[in-house]
Amino acid sequence: MIKIDIRKKLQGAMGAMNLEVNLDIKDGEFVAISGESGSGKTTLLRILAGLEDSDGLIEVDGEIWQDSHNILTPQKRKIGFVFQDYALFENMNILQNLLYVNEDKALALYLLEMTQLQKLQSRHPNSLSGGQKQRVSICRAMMRKPKLLLLDEPLSALDPFMRTKLQQELLNLHKEFNTTTIMVSHDPSEIYKLATRAIVLQNGNIKVDGRTKEVLLKTQGSQKFSFEGELLELKKVDVIYIAIVAIGQQIVEVALSEKESYGFKVGQNITLSTKAFSPTVH
């Protein structure tokens, strides 16, 4: 059980902002945090790791990591941290990177085997691909036998194929070790696959906190499907209007009546959904 109740004043791009997070996380839970850039996601992870100071309480399994009297240094917290830029020790080979954290060679070899890296164990980080580096970085974090694993957009620098592969590996590791995990991610499919709980931060506060499915699935009531997109163009063709909408990587055309098209502006974020076979835009 992890209790977090922290406050910190931040200087963001939009001026001063208060980060205020109050969270209870159950053992073995996999929590995904998303939110706009500058909403305090990375700062929250860094505060949990002890890399930045803040006011308030952090308690992990009954052990106080931080309260008004004491703050444990990063060295004393059992944290596994995976950085977006891998941050491997360039002067050490892969196996040495793992053994630097913890001299348990059996665990190191087991983790390398799980992530199919055992053949690369004597290579240096600069000779690996991004996906391989990030796998080493995840293994290195697990070497600490962490009570809390923190992943800061771990897969965002990788191509889609490598992402899918590493998502599976993260899932395998989570099943195997059942480590309580907090991951910052912007990818809904990644969050859906990995996390059991999704939190959305906005301006330093928790805006949404719920089960992954409830947070991510946008359909409501009798809607059969629902997409969020950006209105790119709205043009009049004869008696109807055609809306061009970007949904993810796809561009979609939707026919609207004059009444339906009223009030929309190009560049606006819209929800596109349908009930039965009659599409509606609202």
């Binding site: 790791a49 890399l51 020790f89 630097y100 600490r144």
Partner: protein, 232 residues
């Protein structure tokens, strides 16, 4: 030719090397914590410390020499302290030369080390802290091994710069044979007494050593950057 070479007194060179090795070692120990602090701090006093550390680069050696001479003399508290407690005279002695060289060469050790520490990915250092390692372990096992060119530059340039110093050495040490008469001072003296052949030999030795030292630094860095894929 051999006769001339063997008749030359090489003592000033041994003295120069002894001085440079000692200065390099002492400065490394002093500069390591100082440059680490400068690379990590966001404190307002950082620019002041940086400016003071860089002073020896721009000050005329005579100014530096004068102040050091004044500070080390038996009339100053520091000089008196050394004379009373350790029985060491700092002015016109080898020990005084070492102290003076440490001031004179300080920026040549601190600046490359600070640059090296600053070039290390902060996340890499944090990853080491999160692995439970102390700052000291992080410096020796992660930071220094990942900045070998900067480390080598700091050590070699400090060494070479100490060998090459003249003004401060002359003012603080004078020219006592076997004690403070280092190579650069010896050359000056040879020219003064118009012994040009000895001056030539001394000078060509200094020139060759300096060139070889600098060449090896640049060769090492080129090779290191190629191996680790840096384009810098």
């Amino acid at each position: 030719m051999f006769k001339i070479l063997s008749s030359i007194n090489y003592e000033p060179f041994f003295l120069s090397f002894k001085l440079a090795s000692l200065t390099m070692t002492i400065l490394f120990l002093i500069s390591l914590p100082l440059s680490w602090y400068l690379s990590q701090t966001k404190s307002n006093i950082k620019p002041f410390i940086e400016a003071i550390t860089a002073l020896p680069i721009v000050l005329p050696p005579s100014v530096l020499g004068f102040y050091i001479l004044w500070a080390l003399s038996a009339n100053s508290p520091l000089g008196a302290f050394f004379e009373n407690v350790f029985g060491v005279k700092l002015v016109f002695s080898f020990t005084g030369l070492v102290v003076a060289s440490c001031f004179y060469s300080l920026p040549f050790m601190v600046q490359p080390l600070q640059g090296g520490f600053e070039s290390i990915n902060k996340n890499m250092l944090e990853a080491s802290y999160l692995a439970g390692k102390s700052k000291l372990q992080t410096i020796f096992r992660v930071a220094l091994p990942n900045m070998k060119p900067a480390l080598l530059s700091a050590l070699i340039v400090t060494f070479a710069h100490t060998i090459g110093e003249f003004g401060v050495v002359l003012m603080v040490g004078g020219s006592i044979p076997g004690e403070t008469k280092v190579a650069s001072v010896a050359i000056y003296e040879m020219v003064e007494i118009m012994d040009y052949s000895t001056a030539h030999i001394y000078s060509i030795i200094m020139l060759s050593i300096s060139f070889i030292v600098l060449l090896s630094v640049y060769l090492f860095n080129a090779n290191y950057n190629k191996r680790f894929g840096f384009t810098k």
